[in-house]
Amino acid sequence: MNCLAVKLPGLDLKNPIIPASGCFGFGREFAEYYDLSELGSIMIKATTQEPRLGNPVPRVAETPGGMLNAIGLQNPGIEKVMATELPFLEQFDLPIIANVAGTTLEDYVSVAKEISKAPNVTALEINVSCPNVKVGGITFGTDAKVAADLTRAIKEVSSVPVYIKLSPNVTNIVEIAKAVEAAGADGITMINTLLGMRLDLKTGKPIIANGTGGLSGPGIKPVAVRMVHDVYKGVNIPIIGMGGVSTAEDVLEFLYAGASAVAVGTANFVNPYVCPDIIADLPRVLDKYGFEKLEDAIGFAHRA
């Protein structure tokens, strides 16, 4: 028996480790390092209707235990993603989670409808939480009613289960989670990056050309764990947790908080092998803390 297996709507995962959207491109670069079939799934880079060139450089700045980024949803657009990127991933034995972004509700619905028909896309992740674009993105994820309306509209057209990616940049994340659950979301992925800024001491200007950026990396892990813990208590749909995961112990902590699977983001930039390394180490960590299988650890913090 595979002690790491977990089953979520649309996602029959051999293990719970998923590279996070925006940190893994469409897999091509990492395929030069290891067999992507080792992964549970892949959350592909956010895809929009039209190709996007993203923001000016510098796009990143380092922080203690983390980094800020403002890439700006650079992607080749739905047409190219459907024609070349998703077919490239078909050689690997894993379900794909397609991250969908847009400027208007119509954009989201149109991309979601089309991309959900790709043969290897078995779930959608709706990006209502990108802090780095001027229009759309986070504006859909910070108002419960707007998020719910978008969820409903996408559920009507999607051929696969729909996960909503929540923003931590809100007063009450549980309220948003409940709203999207009521609107029919099949699951939640959380958290996106925390809005931040770094200033250049010589010029007084932000280091990142966009001004602000999204904070990620080990430094945000406690925020993410707390939010997963809160949302787990408030909803009955599964959560894919993320935020600063770089070890198998981090994965267990997210499982305890209530995540059913875990995405790995920034750590891929530090060690391109981090996902297979975590997968290899996870059975040891589960055993160390007395779990026969991964599913037994999900939500453990709420029973301890």
Partner: protein
């Protein structure tokens, strides 16, 4: 082969003001073939600084499985790296990026190697490989001041070498392009690495009449092409990643 490895420090020394030469040894060196590529260096085991530091490959010895990198200890990360001593391990990812494609350089061409400051190091391995295949190389190295100068004697081993300093404290007073023009150096192709202002001057002066390659620098996160932090704009209206399609591009290809 796993392309992240701990290499062992053979030696480290300060060869100019804040400029360190670090020699590393390990299996991974056997994969380092093309000049102009870089390695991404984890400077410490802790989570701060989190990201790797991209540093160009300066010299490779396949016989000894040794890699030389040269960097300026300026920020928190490179200062930490400068504390490593013989026997220590350094976590290296690489080789990365697209370097100088020597097959595009005719073997009878006279090649002008232009390095500015911390852009000097990759020109050394490039020059080594070019001379090995029979090219004549002329090296022009630019620095701020005499205290910043390094590798003049190493480049002298490859052929003619000229040094420019901005304050005139060593060699020619002025920048590398002024030196090339004043000495009227004869060459067929130009290869350059250095600050953007130097690359722009090379392109402005020689872009219309000569062929060549320039190596670029940009803030990176992953170094392997996945994060899209280090993009540049090309004249054909496309975007390229400095870490993947670059850091070396054809002269005139990138909008400066």
């Amino acid at each position: 082969m796993r392309r992240v490895q701990n290499l062992e420090v053979v030696s480290q020394r300060e060869i100019a003001r804040h400029i360190f030469e670090l020699v590393l040894k390990g299996d991974l060196v056997s994969a380092m073939l093309q000049p102009g590529q870089f390695v991404n260096v984890k400077v410490g085991e802790m989570e701060a600084p989190l990201l790797r530091r991209p540093i160009s490959i300066c010299d490779v010895s396949h016989d000894r499985q040794e890699l030389t990198i040269i960097y300026r200890a300026e920020g928190q990360g490179t200062k930490l790296l400068s504390k490593k001593t013989a026997g220590d391990a350094v976590d290296i990812l690489g080789p990365l990026g697209t370097g100088y494609d020597l097959t595009e350089i005719p073997s009878d061409a006279t090649v002008l190697l232009v390095g500015g400051g911390i852009g000097v190091p990759p020109m050394y391995e490039t020059g080594k490989q070019l001379t090995k295949r029979g090219n004549k190389v002329i090296s022009v190295l630019g620095f701020g001041s005499a205290a910043d100068v390094f590798y003049e004697e190493k480049f002298a081993g490859l052929g003619e070498v000229y040094v420019a300093t901005m304050d005139g404290s060593h060699g020619f007073k002025g920048n590398v392009v002024e030196l090339i023009q004043q000495k009227n150096l004869p060459f067929d192709m130009v290869l350059g690495c250095g600050p953007k202002v130097m690359l722009a001057a090379i392109e402005k002066t020689f872009g219309a009449t000569k062929q060549g390659f320039l190596s670029f620098e940009e803030r990176m996160a992953c170094g392997i092409g996945a994060c899209y932090a280090c993009v540049c704009q090309t004249k054909s209206g496309k975007q390229a990643r400095v870490c993947k399609e670059g850091p070396v591009f054809k002269l005139g290809e990138v909008i400066l």
